[in-house]
């Protein structure tokens, strides 16, 4: 006998169905007998009983599933057979999990001889706690169901209660994403704090030499400035030089000049472009764009041109961002009222003058917001820079040289064999934290601008 959570969940779901039918029948019967009108329709009484039956039991099941293994282990450790175990550490854990595996039928026989005497203890304890859990769960389900069942009366407001519970579920669902974000921040924060115990934040933020080595941190090897510069050069400068003009021109064409049929085709294609996996862009950058640019640079006689260049990564990233910029600009230009356009045309302005002097200035705040969002995406982009920008931390404004970015370094620091608590590995989390804070701020500013601008025309 083991504790099978899925089967038990099915069991209480079945009980809940019975509760639903019973609740519905009872409410109808009570109403019929007393001749009064029900406050809520019968199925709401059914739902009320079913929820009371299901929710507490399911909650208990969830808690018990996570608590009971610890209880089982405690009981096993209290037996005589466990006294001969090694005191702590890796071996002890391996023996215990080996014994547990056999006891729960996940493996046919023990791999470690020391685990053999523990198997029976595990099986006994497992069975005992499984029965306790099942009994408690059923008791809870029945108690909940009975409580709800006895409350059913014709004037009982079952509908309002059910709606309240449903609302609670919806609230919980909406909190999942928020709580996850919170969890991510906390985990980043804790690992970063461990890093900052070894290396000062000032060095990471303002140091200019990036050469992390394994083992104890050495002075002046964790300077983040070359990475930040590389990130800015690729994501905020080169990519935007590509994406902003092309994205804007695309938006102007699509909103002002394109025939409806052209627009109907081009917009979805752009949206598909936005869905291409970034690793595909990465291939394109590394295999096609970068070599071509290197040959071009060599032809121009530019020194230290490399096959990995800021320019290749930046251009391809800019292309990747184009749909993003164009769709934000498209929305902003469309949000400028038609009367503005009419007003300008009626003064004898050409469509071109109208776009340049009225529509784009009026749409500018929205476009700026879109550009900031695009920048925050670009600096968080990883695959393209890993594949095409290189990993050497250079502080150079030469776009044909190899530079590295925060994201590329995070990948480099976390891949390969590393001890997990060295400064070198922990640096990845600190860099992640910096990146997270910067993109968060960019997003906040951008969304504020966009929102304020939307209000201006409503």
């Amino acid at each position: 006998m083991t504790f099978n959570a899925a089967a038990l969940l099915l069991l209480i779901a079945g009980l809940a169905l019975i509760g639903w039918l019973a609740g519905r029948a009872r409410s109808a019967m009570l109403a019929g007998r007393s001749g009064t009108k029900l406050h809520s329709r019968p199925q709401y009484h059914g739902w009320y009983v079913a929820l009371w039956l299901f929710a507490p039991a399911a909650l208990f099941l969830a808690i018990w599933s996570s608590v009971s293994p610890a209880l089982v282990t405690n009981q096993v450790l209290a037996t005589e057979a466990a006294q001969s175990l090694p005191a702590f550490g890796f071996e002890r854990g391996a023996i215990l999990s080996d014994a547990r595996g056999v006891a729960e039928g996940k493996q046919p026989a023990v791999r470690l001889p020391a685990a053999a005497p523990l198997v029976k203890a595990y099986a006994d304890a497992g069975e005992k706690y499984a029965w306790i859990g099942i009994a408690a769960m059923l008791a809870l389900a029945l108690a909940g169901g009975l409580y709800a069942f006895t409350r059913i009366k014709p004037d009982f407001r079952a509908r309002t209660r059910v709606e309240k519970i449903v609302m609670l579920f919806l609230l919980l669902a909406s909190l999942v994403a928020i709580l996850t974000t919170f969890g991510i921040v906390l985990s980043l924060l804790f690992e970063s704090i461990r890093f900052f115990r070894l290396v000062s934040p000032a060095e990471l933020l303002f140091g200019t030499n990036w050469a992390p080595t394994s083992g104890a941190p050495q002075d002046d090897t964790f300077g983040g400035i070359p990475l930040f510069w590389g990130t800015v050069l690729i994501g905020a400068i080169i990519a935007m030089i590509v994406a902003i003009p092309i994205g804007m021109m695309t938006a102007v064409y699509l909103t002002q000049y394109a025939a409806p049929t052209v627009r109907k085709w081009v917009k979805p294609i752009l949206e598909i472009l936005a869905g291409v996996p970034t690793v595909v862009y990465g291939y394109f950058a590394a295999l096609t764009v970068a070599p071509a640019l290197r040959n071009f640079a060599v032809m121009l006689g530019i020194p230290n041109a490399s096959t990995e260049s800021a320019l290749a990564a930046g251009i391809v990233m800019g292309v990747m961002i184009i749909p993003f910029v164009s769709s934000m600009a498209d929305d902003s230009i469309n949000a400028v009222p038609q009367s503005m356009r009419d007003g300008s045309l009626a003064l004898g302005a050409t469509p071109n003058e109208t776009i340049r002097q009225v529509l784009i200035p009026a749409a500018l705040p929205g476009v700026m917001g879109g550009i900031l969002l695009a920048v925050s995406r670009a600096i968080g982009e990883t695959m393209i820079v890993v594949m095409a920008a290189g990993l050497s931390a250079n502080m150079t404004a030469n776009p044909f040289a190899s530079v590295t970015t925060v994201t590329a370094q995070i990948v480099k620091l976390l891949t390969g064999d590393q001890e997990f608590d060295s400064a070198k590995t922990l640096a990845a989390f600190a860099l992640g934290l910096v990146l997270f804070i910067v993109t968060l701020l960019l997003n906040i500013v951008a969304l504020r601008i966009v929102k304020k601008y939307r209000e201006a025309y409503e």
Binding site: M340, L347, G348, A362, A456
Partner: protein, 260 residues
């Protein structure tokens, strides 16, 4: 011949047999009308009668609606404005327009008025532009209210001031005709009175065509009135005649409030 005579010897604009279609739907049916140079002409009629549609065909603003099609002949100073040789940009500089809802650009008051003269190259220097902007604002009766805050945004003005700013903006291009599409419908009575006063002052300097659903307004500001109903021109004549002695039964019913 006085200018209040019904016959218009030297019309600024002439429309003959004009039909306007929106896709399949015919919005204007066979309308012929002359617009006098020194007169204010009012288009009245119930909602949906086509008066605004017809107005918008006088400066080809209907061109911006993809499904709209205009047939017949409309002339400005004897020149067919729908002829292929007509430059629509120049046409709209000569035939200005003021819209139903004030639509100042989100620019400064100065730049709102200066926009037209700049794009048409009417003011080569900053000093010239200053003169043009001031003159337009004075004519629109807005100068005293805004002269100390020309750098403020045009959208920060009150509704009535915004509409006068839009009139100033149209005047600044020095048009020959000004089309007004229910210019007071979004304004309160005091602002409306100011606009009507302004129309009186502008009369004679520009040919003015005003669309309104307010019959008292038409009676107050215009010398000629055209009554539209269901896309047709029912009656056109001196404003005093239309309101005191209409020839058509439908006109009489409308101005006495039977329908509309």
């Amino acid at each position: 011949m006085t200018q209040d005579d019904l016959t218009i010897a030297d019309p600024k604009m002439k429309a003959h047999g004009v039909d306007v279609f929106y896709g399949e739907k015919q919005a204007i049916k066979n309308v012929s009308i002359d617009v006098g140079t020194d007169l204010v002409t009012a288009f009245i009629g119930p909602s949906g009668c086509g008066k605004s549609t017809f107005l918008r065909s006088l400066n080809r603003m209907n061109d911006t609606v993809a499904s709209a099609k205009v047939t017949g002949r409309i002339e400005l100073d004897g020149e067919d404005i729908y002829a292929p040789s007509m430059d629509v940009v120049q046409l709209r500089a000569r035939v200005g327009m003021v819209f139903q809802k004030p639509n100042p650009f989100p620019k400064s008051i100065y730049d709102n008025v200066g926009y037209g003269p700049r794009i048409h190259g009417l003011a080569p220097s900053k000093a010239d532009l200053d003169v043009v902007v001031e003159r337009a604002l004075v004519r629109a009766g807005l100068w005293d209210e805004v002269k100390d805050r020309l750098a403020e945004s045009g959208t920060a003005l009150s509704g009535g001031q915004q509409q006068r700013l839009c009139i100033a903006r149209a005047i600044a291009v020095d048009p020959e005709v000004i089309l007004m599409d229910e210019p007071c419908s979004a304004l309160d009575p005091i602002a409306t009175a100011k606009i009507e006063e302004l129309i009186h002052e502008l009369r004679g300097k520009y040919a003015i065509v005003i669309v309104t659903h307010n019959m008292q307004q038409a009676a107050r500001v215009s010398q000629r009135t055209a009554f539209f109903h269901l896309g047709t021109l029912v009656e056109y004549g001196k404003t005093t005649d239309i309101f005191t002695n209409p020839k058509q039964e439908r006109t009489k019913d409308y101005i006495t409030g039977r329908y509309g």
